[in-house]
Symmetry: D2
Subunit: 387 residues, 4 copies
């Protein structure tokens, strides 16, 4: 295995984008529990993101969701974020909460509703210009609940038409990333259900259209690291939405359900050039903290990515390649697991302290009194959520 | 195959309980779409249930959910229902929407919260006395989202304690039915995740505690008809919550996703004595009509149960048993599918007309103007939903 | 719904290719049960395929598997088949039963083993020339059992190289169809696990390289008809391997596990131009009859495809399109299910009799004495199987 | 977290039973690859088991499978094993490889075949007397492939009858453990598919009938540690068959697919009293080494159990209970994962060396020349496998 000292430089490149909505309330269709200290405004969400970055040094940008994060002056929001030490990152569109979109948005049979969805994306691109964002991320909730409800094929063609129109509006330094999802909220078919569909749709658009891989959006048993390897091979992996799941799109803390899977994914990211200088792959979180505290939930999450990335970087690729070449199955697997089983936490604590960060950001946050402070201050108003 | 004439008497026994909440709005965590004509009150929900019964003759009772259906005077509600030609059926409790239940109800570590959940069930039993309901149905949303969050074993013991206390409060002609569910809203573990757990919990209570089988609450690939057969064999199948699913607990119209599975389930119901005189198994719907119209969605659902039950009754069990005895795999399967592939719709239309019902309840409803009427009348107020 | 009379001409175009190996013994890793009457030679397998065609008129060609079906003189085999009224169809390669392929074939790290696998495909192409076969079907069993065992990315590159070499060897009127499979026999990763991978690999080859969709090769819950629609849209659906499954790649009789799914698939086939004159999509079976009799198992299978295709053709697409356009979810679904619930069996029996075929091929086969005859005749020798 | 020094005594109690068949060849339905050095006799399998124990000190007993391990003189086999330092453990029956069992064994419609299956178990009990084995393990491959093929309910009743007869034959110090399995080799229904069925069947037998939990025999997404906790709570967990899986019953090396799941399982084992003095739970492996070397595959496996057990023992249960009581979700999860992320390998190496064992058994085995020796010696004869 490689020594920790050999990976410290590579580790320094890690930046994990956090989603503004992770700081607001979320839940299931059964209940959204509120929690003290939840932001009431976009500015408070950005402040929470900045807090995560202050304690970890890992989260220099925050993704916005339109219209949840609509403000009058995005230039001011951008300056506000920069004053707090973070940037505005990816802009996420929303075509699933307007009554018009009940049966579809970009794929709707009615051209007026399709145009409305396209116009919404134009508005998002306007926001990108104001915030300096590179990526427009499109997750489409569309699909059908019953066989026969829609024409699967025609919807795919309308999807292409809508995406083309949006893509053409982007500036030359902007990208479109198209997320896929196995199911939910549609329960019979989803218009972009798998990486293959996202790939063929973005491949038909052009070079700056890429696939977004959300780790919670696959069929049971799917080998996600294979998809990572394939998309990097095809030059079409645009970004990650990290989270974890036991069942469906549970949106749990990344690494919480299957840490070894996270390791395998990050090994392929590094293997395929998806990390570090020269890579444009955006690493983001997309999570819900339904029952746990939100800021420390996000701190835990970026630390999980960092710890697992350290293990992936420690993997002795030369020894592994030799064992693979030899066909020594047990040795190759042992080398692979050796890095995974290495406890990197003490080294990382030391590394953080050298950089002026708290060695244990979780304990530092708890000890800082910040949580109590926001719980005291953020009284009244309407807590942010998915709406 | 048996002739349709031979099953008409058996068919007459069919009664499918409808859930009051099917007439209110429902949706996903992403969006609850409203729809014109949605009830604003419990009385309007009961009226909608009565409408379904009027058009089909299949839905003589309506299940209530407490507190969604709390009224001041349940006696009046009962009389109101009876005036409309339906009864109040199962009472469903709710321990998942109060802030106190964020980390559990009957399984919570805090005895005060457990007592609160028990008291809620006592209140439900009071309602049952007023409405004349036989069954208290308990679906517990409890569980944990992260490994380590709770003590799986201790929670199971507390669950037993709580259920015992509730069971002891029931009158001699009342039953407790305990529903199980694979996951959601909890994402790591659920306290009653499978039929085995529900069975051992109710077996520890007594004779009037039974299992409720919701057809959407199983792991992918689960053979549900096997569970039906097993629970009937054990004398512990209390009731069904019918719906259908492609992925998770989609709560789609029963029979919409896999009609052949519904057939297989009903074959085992009939085989095991779960249908007809002498059976106490309650057949209920538990569905959401997120995007389709609600009253016709329910009409479609009870018709689907009726059509599939007719096929199950048509199955030539003597011929099947002979083929099974012979070990003739292809012939046994052919006999089994013969009834399934039989188109019973014309015979059923005739059967309905003979009983003074519309031959095609779906077309009759559309032609009746009822939907337009309630859309006109039900303006203002707050549409009913899950809260 | 359309009338049966309106679809008889379209129905006449149906041809389902049967696999030679369906007539041999098959089983699980636990046991291969033998059965009386099983063929001992390739010629006897072809004779069984011809028997299926004689009773149904639906199975005019038989697929071969090399080396299971190696004969000295393929020209003679071809003439023999034609004398019996059937053609030799798709040639299937095999790179999973030689000891050299334990850790891979086209993806192996050792170039000598890769060349051996390529040479095997060259041999298959030679067979195609002798048999007049159009399609070379490649299912690759390769993959790894343990994380780290192989380099996912490098294997993909080697796969491309191998496929290119094979593709270049094909004549202008020959095609390469690449099958994908979720898992088995590899248990950690499979080199062609999903339609996306098959698509990007064949798209990199050229116009005559296509995807083969085996209905049993998907993750739980996968919407297969969506993939059918997408591949037809992309012009890359080459062929089907029909069978059915409850769990993994069960290889049961097509339509036996989920008849409604088969209907939905065939609706998309027809919708997307994958059936009838002008379509090059090959409809094949790929099944195992582990416990049921093999010839009637195949008769049942081609009948299942025919019956379900009839339903798909009966679908009233104009009415469906209107309901979809209206956004009438319930009506669209009802129109869709109307054709499914139609019992086409009597009409099909009549249709067969008009064409000089037995109205009920299953009964006709049982009554013909053919099964007893082959059980008497085929004594001694080694029964055919997977080797 | 607890210190390693605090768990060394508890660690010493670990004994993992190995299966004789792990040393023979195994594979998939597509191919069984042979490998040099594979045992030809039962004695050689026992010798291989003893080798695993010699290098690890963890595997003091070996399970046999009848008839694969039938010998003329089981007393001699027992003495032979004891001379090599191991015991004969569990006796496994086999009712899936005789042609008579094609459609069932204990559940067959034919009473003669049922009696034959019962007699086979009597024979196994005779073996147990000769070998001094405590446990008779029954895994039933029975089920059906097609709906309608068998009567689910009647089969369950016949199963009870057969098991009762077998159970009654056991001596007072012998146990019956009944394994359940989701699917395979039956593809529509399995007669003992889940823990609930195994539980109700063994509960109907008596105190010495217990459930066997094979970690690879569940539906996708099943929370296995919950079942462990439940069965321990009910006093009915008899034994484990450890292995790991990504998809179906892959039978991979335990801990190879999801190490965190193995940790969670072992945490519940310890929590529920399933480990250590006073516990009768048998920890066994049931694995296949299809492509990797078999003896080191088994060494790796018992080491994986040991390493993960060490982590489970290190868990600070007092701190965890306090965090659970507090409802501190993040802290509880962090405490839970803290032990998992601890690298116990150096401490365990030291612990082994103190006990006269090699610190790194994998390297020690490779360096010992043993593998080369058996590859040289075991030439000729028929390699052992599943038959």
């Amino acid at each position: 295995m490689r020594a920790f000292a050999d990976i410290t430089e590579a580790l320094s490149a890690l930046a994990v984008e956090v989603p503004s909505w992770a700081y607001g309330n979320s839940g299931t269709r059964f209940k959204v529990f509120g929690s003290p200290g939840t932001p009431r405004t976009v500015e408070e969400k950005v402040a929470d993101a900045a807090t995560v970055h202050r304690f970890t040094g890992l989260a220099p940008s925050v993704a916005l969701h339109i219209p949840w994060d609509l403000v009058d002056d995005f230039g001011a929001l951008r300056r506000n974020a920069e004053d707090l030490g973070v940037r505005i990152g990816t802009i996420n569109s929303n075509t699933f909460q307007d009554d018009d979109y009940k049966l579809g948005a970009l794929t709707h049979t009615d051209p007026k509703i399709r145009q409305k969805a396209i116009d919404h994306h134009f508005e998002c691109i306007d926001v990108m210009h104001a915030t300096g964002s590179r990526d427009l991320k499109i997750w489409l909730a569309e699909g059908t609940n019953y066989p026969g409800q829609g024409d699967l094929r025609a919807r795919q063609d309308r999807l292409h038409e809508g995406l083309s129109t949006i893509y053409d509006r982007l500036a030359d330094d902007q990208r479109l990333v198209l997320e896929y999802k196995f199911f939910e909220p549609a329960f019979y078919h989803t218009d972009v259900p798998d990486w293959g569909t996202s790939y063929v749709q973005v491949a038909a658009l052009g070079e700056r259209a890429m696939v977004c891989l959300d780790t919670g959006h696959h069929a049971p048993g799917t080998n996600i690291e294979f998809i990572v390897a394939q998309l990097l091979r095809l030059g079409k992996l645009g970004s990650f939405d990290f989270n974890s799941r036991f069942y469906a799109d549970d949106d749990l803390i990344v690494g919480a359900a299957d840490p070894y899977q996270l390791y395998r994914i990050l090994v392929e990211v590094v293997r395929g050039g998806g990390y570090g200088p020269g890579s444009d792959v955006a690493l983001m979180l997309d999570q819900c903290h339904n029952i746990e505290k939100k800021i420390p939930g996000q701190i835990r999450s970026v630390l999980n990515v960092q710890e697992m990335l350290a293990r992936a970087l420690l993997l002795d690729r030369e020894a592994l390649a030799a064992a693979q070449e030899e066909g020594d199955v047990l040795l190759a697997n042992e080398i692979f697991m050796d890095a995974f089983y290495t406890d990197v936490r003490a080294d990382l604590a030391h590394w953080r302290e050298e950089r002026g960060l708290p060695g244990d950001p979780m304990r530092a946050y708890v000890g800082s009194g910040h949580q109590e402070r926001i719980e005291d201050e953020r009284v009244g108003g309407t807590q942010a959520g998915w709406g």
